[in-house]
């Protein structure tokens, strides 16, 4: 019985299936008839229309590259613009014997191996009848000679195309970045179609970050060509939509002053307006010539720049990670106050070294003889290591890390540029995750003076200095001030406020006073180089000297004895005018030696240029109205 049921069910199932199949066949037949109808419409109905299109041949669509947006500083000074450049292009279909043509061309223009190699690659990847670039940046006399002999050079064309140039050159090379020829990797990350007519793309910095805005949208023209591919006439043109012009927060005068203040030394300077996060100067020295990349740098030249021991291609301001040294002490002090580990008034006797209870090892102060009796303010002003060893030991790493993190250490600032790194804010968890080891008490001590595992970028230092200047308000540091899309109206993105650092006002006051003391009091570490020269405004700042080379307990640091590459990095962070800060600055001089002696005067020059320079002040005044 059960068997018969199963059999019956099977039959029923099969019948249902056959019905469905028949239905499917009917639907398929209907669809095929519809397709046939469509095809007969194209092939029979519209046959003559399409034959005309096909024969008169042939519609071709040629992309028109949009004009790249220009980049200006906050006062309208041009940082990146476009100018016409003559380039030699070959339409392979019209050239006949390509090798013979190349040989003949060598009589008119010097062709490097890189030029020819790029040309051959272009030939393989081109669309039919698309001209392929052979050499860019021709001078006038070459252009003239080739133009005269055009009848001997079939398929050769001279085109004037806009090319990027950077009037202020290497001083802005890291801040603005550069464009270069599009390569395969670039096409992976953008819509290749939008770049059909473009030759260049942003490779670093602003040029890369705002690539989409700067590039614009391509236009196209529909043309009719004859059988040989010559353009007969233009049928229609859709103009390209030019890229958006960008106005940066940078101040070209200040950037120039900052670059010069470094006086040929390797280092980085970041200046930021603490009231809105606008980056006023972003210097990494040495810079490089960005235009070399625009024209297509030769292998040898590139190798020379890349292997230069001063590393000009390395953006120290965003990618360089350095121990912050004593510049981190104000943050540790604030942590101590907020965690109620200590008070501003509590004094201690700072000797020349510190020992953990029950340990032999001596943690030395930078000053062999110590600093005597110090309270918090004085400890910051004289930069007593021993005071901070003691504070850190009492507080412990776990209570120190959250406040340092709130100031942004160990995280990318998120600036609108490329290559930024996060630095390191060490903690128990971090050490277990990266080293697989427990945290040692001694490491807490050296973290409090910005040594050991801790690393920060100059941008992060400027950022936390701005936070000190505003007593906890934090604005997103950024480089883009406004966009000009040609509509006549500038578009200003609003400053973005970030999570503030919350602390008691009197604690902020203590830190602020101690930073002024560090510059303007006789015992301050920046007194000798800055405070004693009586600047026209008050500066709040902190020096730092970060070790590249660790000394043994009993060794002396002696610049003259050490190779330059092992010299300490000189650091200074500060803001001015202290009472109503308008600029916060971080200065790093690689292997510069003492922060007070070397980095503080550089920062002073930057502040002078910004606060005292008449033009700047006039502009600020005009803005305020």
């Amino acid at each position: 019985m059960a068997e018969r049921d199963a059999y019956g069910e099977e039959e029923e199932d099969r019948e249902r299936f056959v019905l469905r199949i028949l239905l499917a066949l009917v639907v398929l037949a209907a669809i095929l008839l519809a397709l046939g109808w469509r095809l007969s419409g194209l092939q029979v109905g519209a046959h003559s229309h399409f034959t005309t299109l096909s024969e008169s041949n042939r519609l071709r669509v040629e992309p028109i590259a949009p004009t790249r947006g220009v980049i200006r500083d906050r006062n309208g000074v041009l940082l990146a613009g476009n100018r016409a450049s003559y380039q030699l292009e070959i339409t392979v279909e019209q050239a006949g014997d390509l090798e013979a043509l190349l040989a003949r061309l060598r009589g008119y223009v010097e062709l490097s191996e890189a030029d020819v190699e790029r040309f051959r690659r272009g030939v393989r990847q081109r669309r039919p009848f698309q001209p392929v670039l052979l050499k860019a940046g021709l001078d006038d006399s070459t252009v003239a000679r080739i133009a005269v002999s055009r009848h001997e050079l079939p398929g050769v064309e001279i085109e004037a195309r806009p090319l990027r140039y950077y009037p202020l050159g290497s001083e802005f090379s890291h801040a603005v970045g550069y464009v270069g020829r599009i390569n395969q990797q670039d096409l992976q990350r953008v819509d290749a179609r939008a770049y059909a007519g473009s030759s260049h793309i942003g490779k670093s910095g602003i040029e890369r970050y705002y690539e989409e805005l700067l590039h614009g949208r391509p236009g196209y023209r529909q043309v009719e060509v004859n059988a040989q591919g010559r353009v007969l006439r233009e049928l229609s043109v859709t103009p390209p939509q030019p890229g958006t012009d960008l106005i940066l927060t940078l101040d070209a005068n200040l950037q120039h002053a900052a670059y010069r203040a470094l006086d040929g030394k390797d280092g980085a300077i970041v200046a930021v307006d603490p009231n809105n996060g606008e980056i006023l100067a972003l210097v990494s020295a040495p810079g490089f010539d960005p235009e070399a990349f625009v024209h297509g740098i030769s292998q040898a030249d590139f190798a020379a720049v890349r292997d230069n021991t001063r590393r000009p291609l390395f953006n120290r301001a965003l990618s360089g990670q350095y121990p912050p040294g004593s510049t981190v002490k104000p943050l540790v002090a604030l942590a101590g106050l907020e965690e109620e580990v200590t008070t501003a008034e509590r004094e201690m006797f700072a000797r020349g070294y510190y020992q953990l209870p029950g340990h032999e090892r001596r943690f030395r102060d930078w000053r062999r003889e110590g600093h005597g009796r110090v309270d918090m303010s004085r400890a910051i002003a004289v930069s007593s290591d021993v005071y901070f060893y003691d504070l850190a030991h009492t507080m412990g790493i776990d209570r120190m890390v959250p406040i340092l993190g709130a100031f942004g250490l160990g995280q990318r600032v998120g600036i609108d540029s490329t290559g930024e790194r996060a630095g390191i804010l060490p903690s128990r968890d971090w050490k277990r995750a990266t080293h697989g080891e427990a945290w040692f008490p001694g490491e807490t001590l050296i973290t409090a003076i910005g040594q050991g595992y801790m690393l920060t970028t100059p941008l992060q230092m400027a950022d936390f200095t701005a936070t000190l200047a505003t007593r906890g308000q934090r604005y997103q540091p950024h480089l883009l001030r406004a966009m000009d899309n040609g509509s006549g109206e500038l578009e200003y993105p609003l400053p973005v406020a970030r999570e503030p650092v919350v602390a008691a006002p009197k604690h902020w006051e203590t830190i602020h006073d101690s930073l002024v003391e560090a510059v303007h009091a006789r015992h301050g570490t920046a007194w000798g180089s800055v405070g004693s020269t009586r600047p026209e405004y008050t500066i709040a700042g902190k020096t730092g000297t970060s070790q590249v080379f660790s000394l043994g307990e009993d060794e002396e640091y002696d610049e003259e004895q050490l190779a330059r590459r092992l010299w300490d990095h000189a650091l200074f962070v500060g803001y001015a005018p202290a009472e109503a800060p308008r600029i916060a600055v971080a200065v790093l001089v690689e292997h510069g030696g003492s922060g007070g002696r070397v980095a503080a005067p550089v920062a002073r020059k930057v502040m002078d240029a910004f606060l005292l320079d008449a033009a700047s002040m006039a502009l600020e005044a005009a803005e305020d109205e």
Binding site: D13, R20, I21, A24, L25, A29, F50, S54, A196
Partner: protein, 372 residues
């Protein structure tokens, strides 16, 4: 019952029976493959290298078909769920470690070769759904449908994330065709249709810019004459200028002068239409229809529900491929990157299809033994 003895069969029949091949299907497929080679020769600019490579793939495909045809239905049914699970795992692997080719993560690099796990799913999904529904008795109920739909949507979602919209839709179609053939009630189908319509806005929001662009281009090719619009404009010129009789083999100007992009792969139908005209097109459509009809005939005679459903789904999916490709080349459907089955240049799709036909052959050789 047919008694099988050597004397009653010719040698040809004996070979076919021995290799478990369906003669009608074999002949139809051979015609299509040869025709495809001829068109490809023209589309590739008479390149022998291309033909040689395609021949190697066809050889591989035929070998795979012969091999699969020998596998018993019992075995196929038994591996179905495992193949499906393995396919899903591979898709997840692609997500994590897949190679990025053409900006989308689809490939898995095995060291010696790279392959697309989504390709496996074109077969694994209908096998899985057919297996699942054959475990149930009677007309499928709502719960069965729901489970089957979930089974289908998992790989569809994963493939869509790669992102590969075309393949994910084909995989989904293969699965839902099984449900359709299983005799799902009409009301459910109407409901499903409405749900699909409702899902369009969601799908739209999930699509990447370039995918949206392709859909928009469909409605107005002139809006994007540089990209997908260029394909469609040129493709229509090629097809239309072919006329009733065509320009003749190797004489299509659109394709020979390289105005037509992707003429060896996705747009090969336009080359065919330009050179062979509407008459050639009509014959090609008939050939496809015949292959599908033969596949469905085999499915109708299959021994059990699993074989029926799988065979039916394979045949109809083949039809979907063809319709989608031709629809896309003639500007009726968006450009989704579906090759013309067994004609377009390219390896994976061809081999997968031949494996599918191997399954059909296996089903054909294991017909119902009891005839009422």
């Amino acid at each position: 019952m047919i008694s099988v003895t050597g004397r009653e069969m010719s040698l040809g029949q004996w070979v076919l029976r021995g290799l478990r091949l369906d003669s009608v299907l074999l002949v139809l497929l051979s015609i299509l493959l040869l025709l495809g080679l001829a068109v490809l020769f023209s589309a590739s600019g008479e390149s022998l290298v291309v033909i040689e490579r395609q021949l190697m793939r066809i050889g591989l495909g035929v070998a795979a078909m012969l091999l699969i045809a020998q596998v018993s239905l019992h075995t196929l049914r038994a591996v179905s769920p495992w193949l499906f699970v393995a396919g899903v795992i591979l898709l997840l692997l692609v997500m994590w470690i897949g190679d990025v080719g053409k900006g989308a993560q689809r490939w898995l690099d095995l060291g010696f070769m790279r392959f697309q796990p989504s390709e496996i799913m074109k077969l694994a999904v209908p096998m899985m759904v057919a297996w699942y529904l054959s475990q149930r008795h009677g007309r499928p109920r709502f719960r069965d449908l729901l489970v089957a739909a979930v089974l289908i949507m998992i790989p569809v979602y994963l493939i869509m994330q790669q992102p590969d919209l075309g393949t994910s839709m084909l995989v989904g179609a293969a699965g839902f065709l099984v449900i359709f053939l299983a005799g799902l009630g009409w009301r459910w189908f109407v409901g499903l249709g409405l749900a699909a319509a409702a899902a369009i806005p969601i799908l739209w929001s999930q699509m990447l810019d370039y995918q949206r662009q392709r859909v928009l281009t469909l409605f107005n090719p002139e809006s994007d004459p540089l990209g997908a619009g260029y394909h469609i404009i040129q493709s229509k010129i090629a097809i239309g200028s072919g006329g009733l009789y065509g320009k003749g083999w190797l004489n299509g100007t659109q394709s020979q002068l390289e105005f037509l992009p992707e003429r060896s792969t996705d747009f090969i139908f336009a080359v065919y239409a330009e050179e062979f005209g509407f008459i050639g097109v009509a014959l090609l459509l008939l050939l496809y229809f015949a292959i599908v009809a033969r596949g469905l005939w085999i499915a109708a005679l299959a021994q059990d529900r699993y074989a029926r459903l799988l065979g039916g789904s394979i045949s109809l999916t083949f039809a979907v491929y063809m319709v989608v490709n031709i629809g896309m080349v003639t500007g009726l459907l968006p450009v989704v990157g579906v090759p013309l089955p067994l004609v377009s240049y390219g390896g994976t799709s061809l081999v997968t299809l031949m494996v599918a036909f191997g399954i059909l052959m296996s089903i054909a050789s294991q017909k119902r033994l009891v005839n009422r």
